[in-house]
């Protein structure tokens, strides 16, 4: 039996969650204060994900803030960053516009979080 201690980061409370594992299978989850914590702890043990936020170059100068529409696997963050390195975005762009499709083969798009006219 293996126990993983996870600090939940869904909200600022930072619950200390203990996940007990037996041969890679979750046996019990304790220490959460809301049900979002259960999901977070499960994912954190089985498939840790993060929302990637970064910037892309604009053809008009300066940068555009962007994020992945949903969290992507933590281990693909670096790969996703490398993919965005040489992308240049043509304005106008609006909040929510898809600027890169299927980042790092995740099936998840990169969307603009700022407006540029």
């Amino acid at each position: 039996m293996e126990t993983k201690k996870i600090t939940c980061i869904v909200c600022p409370k930072g619950c200390q969650i203990q996940v007990k594992l037996n041969n890679g299978e979750i046996v019990s989850i304790e220490g959460y204060e809301c049900k979002r914590g259960i999901d977070y702890a499960k994912n954190e043990v089985l498939d840790p994900r993060r929302t990637l936020t970064t910037t892309l170059k604009l053809s008009t100068g300066g940068v555009l803030p962007v994020r992945t529409k949903e969290p992507i696997p933590k281990k693909l963050l670096k790969k996703a960053m490398l993919e965005t390195k040489d992308i240049i975005v043509e304005p106008p762009v609006k909040v929510g516009d898809v600027v890169v499709e299927n980042i790092a083969g995740t099936g998840i798009d990169l969307i603009a979080t700022g407006n540029v006219e």
Binding site: C11, P12, Q16, L52, G62, R67
Partner: protein
């Protein structure tokens, strides 16, 4: 002299929320003045997610959070002056502002809301010995370079202080390909939110050196390295623990200071601990009709709390302008053991806006489990058990109107008692 019903000074999250709330509740003539060339304050450069969980029930980035308020402001046709600096304010609610287009403007306001926010403490504020080379930035300045201007200030980074912006920038620099060597924090605990320690440092294997500080800066024209030492319980460096770290950039994330030059010009009473105006239950300062909210009053860690507080200030201004408020009879709200300060500092128990009054406070030290006591001169009003109390994470407590009204209270006091580690895990 231009006449305005309500002038809001500062277009960050506090100013946006306060102006919107006032306009929505019947103040027609609202003017928002912002010194930058865009609205949103610090939010546009905070490109990371995690904003808005309380108010929007979703995780937004800083620019998205600002966008929602800016759109609402535009829909409400609130007048905005960008690139405009307020250079003078007095207690008669007269202010002087300048910009390139209109030159100097003198404005007489019926009510004012101060939302100037805060600024970062710099090297000068913490007196680090050594040379004065280039390459030393406050974390927020570096954040602006990377996220707005699109420039990387360096490749090998050391961060002093574990404030949230420093932690966020540790991750940002790492993702952009720089090497963040360590984050040194003089206190024995982090000054940032737990989630940021986990997501920004632990995720990337960046060491957090607690009870450590920078004792020397090396390099002549550009910083070449720093000496970091462990500190003892009196925060004095222990010489035998000194270690050299090479770096081309030092980021400082060592605290924020409410920006109150204008408040002081207007002779507004400033609180010793927060460095911001003393405010009542409507976020009104010691000068009637001048309100303040957000980081100019006390430094917040969550923008949602700024928004909540600023909506209250907006409503306070609405009531003031309608002349609904007879003179208040305040009782003092004080911070007892375990609490460093409580906002609001003054309350008229009979004149709470709405059904509940919110109190914001910070603990003096981390406590795993603590009991918060709220007592008046008459009785113990409430207690509440709190888990994982941290000075960096603001505590927000609501008291009901019936807890306060019609009781002839003379004072309110909040204090925090650490509870023994209860269960054996």
């Amino acid at each position: 002299m231009i006449n305005k019903e309500l002038v809001v000074i500062g277009g960050g999250p506090a100013g946006l929320a306060a102006a919107i709330e006032a306009k929505k509740n019947g103040v027609e003539d609202v003017l928002l003045i912002e010194r930058d060339s865009r609205l949103g304050g610090i939010l546009p450069q905070c490109i990371h997610n995690g904003f808005g969980l309380h108010i929007f029930k979703e995780e937004l980035t800083g620019p998205e959070y600002a966008h929602r308020f800016i759109e609402e402001l535009e829909d409400l046709n609130i007048e905005v002056l960008l690139d405009t600096m307020v250079i003078d304010l007095n207690e008669n609610k007269q202010l002087t502002a300048v910009n390139r287009e209109k030159g100097l403007m003198q404005i007489q306001a019926d009510a004012i809301i101060l939302t100037m926010g805060c600024r970062e403490r710099t090297r000068g504020a913490i007196n680090i010995p050594g040379f004065r080379p280039a390459g030393i930035f406050t974390a927020g300045t570096a954040q602006r370079f990377v996220n707005i201007e699109g420039y990387m200030p360096g490749k090998e980074i050391v961060i002093l202080g574990s404030g949230d912006i420093g932690l966020i920038m540790a991750r940002r620099f790492t993702l952009e390909g720089a090497k963040v060597k360590c984050v040194a924090e003089i206190m024995p605990y982090s000054n940032g939110l737990t989630r940021n320690v986990v997501q920004c440092l632990e995720d990337f294997g960046i060491p957090l050196l607690l009870s450590h500080t920078v004792v020397y800066i090396h390099g002549n024209s550009r910083i070449e390295g720093v000496t970091i030492a462990q500190v003892d319980e009196n925060l004095k460096p222990i010489p035998s623990t000194e270690k050299y770290y090479s770096c081309d950039t030092l980021l400082l994330s060592v605290g924020l200071i409410p920006e109150n030059e204008l408040s002081k010009m207007a002779s507004i009473k400033i609180h010793d601990v927060t460095g911001g105006p003393v405010v009542n239950q409507r976020m009104e300062t010691s000068v009637p009709g001048i309100f303040a909210c957000g980081n100019v009053v006390h430094v917040h860690d969550l923008v949602d709390f700024v928004t909540m507080e600023s909506r209250l200030a907006g409503l306070g201004a609405v009531d003031y302008l309608k002349d609904k408020i007879p003179s208040d009879e305040y009782i003092s709200v004080s911070a007892g053991p375990g609490i460093s300060y409580v906002v609001p500092h003054l309350v008229d128990p009979e004149k709470i806006l709405g059904e509940k009054q919110n109190f914001f406070m910070r603990s003096t030290k981390p406590m795993e489990k603590a009991r918060l006591f709220i007592e008046s001169d008459k009785n113990l009003i409430r207690t509440r058990v709190l888990q994982h109390v941290r000075p960096s994470e603001m505590i927000s407590i609501e008291l009901k109107k019936e807890d306060l009204a019609n009781k002839d209270l003379k004072s309110l006091r909040f204090f925090l008692q650490e509870e023994g580690v209860a269960d054996g895990n």
